[in-house]
Symmetry: C2
Subunit: 343 residues, 2 copies
DNA sequence: TTCGTAAATCGCAGCGCTATGATTAGCCCA
DNA sequence: TGGGCTAATCATAGCGCTGCGATTTACGAA
């Protein structure tokens, strides 16, 4: 019937133009209505809303992002969402940002700065509204890319050195220090720190540092560290406790790099008949779902994973809304010592 | 100096055109090189690669997505990534899809079909390469939107009714049935199922159904259920165990809706002096990080969260690569009974 | 009634890339 | 040496939307 047209293209069934036509306004007005509803008259708003509804219009964010040179996506890069800490933060951020119709794009660095750099490059391709990283350690290239990009950047879960742009978290040395102080106050003298994967998990290593420093600064108190390269788990915790007791039979307190380890310690103590807290005090980090229900209930330090998420989301939203006040750059969320039965 | 131009636009520093110019080829060739490297000659490839490197070109995926009417994003919607099961799957999918430069966009339905529907609408705005949902229950609108969209859809973690498009998971009734059979084989007669949030967590409810049905079909075996509306946790598990023992003092086996609950059961039994497995067998679901390290080690059923992720990613990639063979629609990943000390 | 001003609305010109079909280069064999 | 083919490359025409400035409308004051 027809000669083949030179060019044909796929298309979206309903576009903004269709909505405009039905609502008897220009596409510009529809666009305005979608982006800044307050700038459109009540009459027009009603007509446009009706048209959108009737046509089941779905905006094309790719087109919008291209035209605006920035998307409604926020790239969030964490070591792994398998880790309950980061899961909490990611979940909270998604909820907060989703409310403003911002999409969370997720990436896992698996504790590798190299991999993180790749993810940042990918993320930049999306012209994200913001990029969220975990920690303050990144490759030089990562830092350069982000500084050059002028995309808002938030670094989570760690304070200390200068952030690229904004940071939300707490000082991990302080966590270790707080744990040591607590154990000393409970009358303990021979402290042990047991940790997993301190090479990869820089923040766990910082906690260990703070713990050892504070303990050793105290008169009459000794502190040693026992570590293992495997990822933190209860099984590793149990193993390390056995090893620790063999090596330091007179130890009277154990701080664990996180609550998984501490759980293993508790179980192993049950097995070999060490009573907690009489003979051994135990303190963890994380306040995981089981920590309060252990036997004995685990004394631990709770990092505010959800607060970190909400604060990060807040910073991002403020930054997006106005270029003016570049918000406080660094937010210290603190952490909480929860004293329970194990110490 | 200059009259203001009518229009000015923001722009990306380095575009594909810049690369083309430096490499002495047309933009089309650069585009082709990026999408199908094999279709470009070695000479051109080298020149283009050099130019990309020298100019530090970063492709604009928004522009690409708009032109191609489909993006490199995969929307993944789970009840919550706080749940270790879904975290595992999400992490695995991100790794697998990231390898092919597909971006995971994350959404949390918080166990609400209504919220899931909103997330699906948002997702569709991005013209995703695929949409991944959890479970087979969705609102009618969700199903309609997805069917009309012609976007590949994968439903995870549950088999049973007809999927929208593809599905990867297992039968939760079978999980319950397997648990019941196992306990009966261990000589148990008075079985109890304790579960949390069975109203919201449809899959947990299915497991309970399968458990009760199989148990009650067995001669000489009784089975009761005890539930609680709060989210699963060790604390709830401990509470429910206490309640269960009061109500059914002669019960000799407990199946838990997941390992968090089971952990609470173990701790509570320790406290009130019930020996596991002598007096009471315990079986969980999930094989969480602590399950093998408990005291006693927990018998549980392991769902293959990682396998679900890899299989889903594989289906998506196959579907993207070719429209031809619409792959097997449903993949049953099965699950594994891990018998340990608690039963 | 007319004008000035603010509030609404509109028209234009792309954003940076890809799909398509057309064109050119490369190469084997007769 | 030329024909016939395949492999490479290219030019074109948008994809659907937004930012900007221009234009129109609304409305009270003079």
């Amino acid at each position: 019937m027809e000669a083949t047209k030179r060019h044909r293209r796929k298309m979206q069934s309903v576009t903004m133009m269709d909505v405009a036509e039905r609502a008897q306004v220009s596409p510009s007005t529809v666009s305005l209505y979608l982006r800044k509803p307050d700038a459109v008259s009540a009459t027009a708003s009603r007509a446009i809303a009706e048209a959108i509804d009737a046509l089941k219009y779905v905006p094309n964010l790719m087109a919008g992002g291209l035209a605006a040179a920035s998307s409604r996506a926020v790239s969030v890069i964490v070591p792994s969402v398998r880790n309950a800490f980061f899961a909490e933060t990611v979940a909270t951020m998604q909820a907060e940002l989703g409310r403003e119709r911002l999409q969370v794009m997720l990436g896992h660095s698996e504790y590798s700065e190299r991999e993180e750099e790749n993810l940042v490059k990918m993320a930049l391709s999306w012209k994200p509204a913001a990029i969220v990283l975990t920690g303050l350690s990144h490759t030089a290239t990562t830092r350069r890319l982000l500084k050059e990009s002028s995309v808002p950047v938030v670094e989570l879960w760690e304070l200390g050195r200068e952030p690229i742009d904004m940071a939300v978290g707490f000082y991990h040395e302080q966590v270790g220090s707080t744990a040591a102080t607590h154990l000393v106050q409970r009358g303990r003298k021979q402290l042990l720190y047991i940790g997993a994967r301190l090479q990869e998990d820089r923040r766990a290593a910082l906690r260990a540092d703070g713990f050892l420093r504070t303990a050793r600064e105290t008169d009459g108190v000794t502190a040693e560290i026992i570590e293992h390269p495997a990822p933190a788990s209860a099984a590793i915790g149990a193993m390390l406790l056995a090893e620790a007791i063999k090596k330091y039979p007179d130890a009277d307190a154990i701080a664990c790099s996180n609550d998984h380890i501490a759980l293993g310690v508790i179980f192993e103590c049950q097995r070999i008949g060490i009573s907690i807290p009489e003979r051994l005090s135990v303190i963890g980090f994380g306040d995981l779902s089981f920590s309060g229900a252990c036997n004995p209930a685990l004394t631990t330090i709770r990092p505010p994973g959800d607060l970190i998420g909400t604060e990060a989301a807040r910073l991002i939203l403020e930054r997006i809304r106005s270029f003016e006040h570049p918000a406080p750059q660094v937010i210290d969320t603190r952490f909480t010592l929860l004293q329970r039965q194990s110490s």
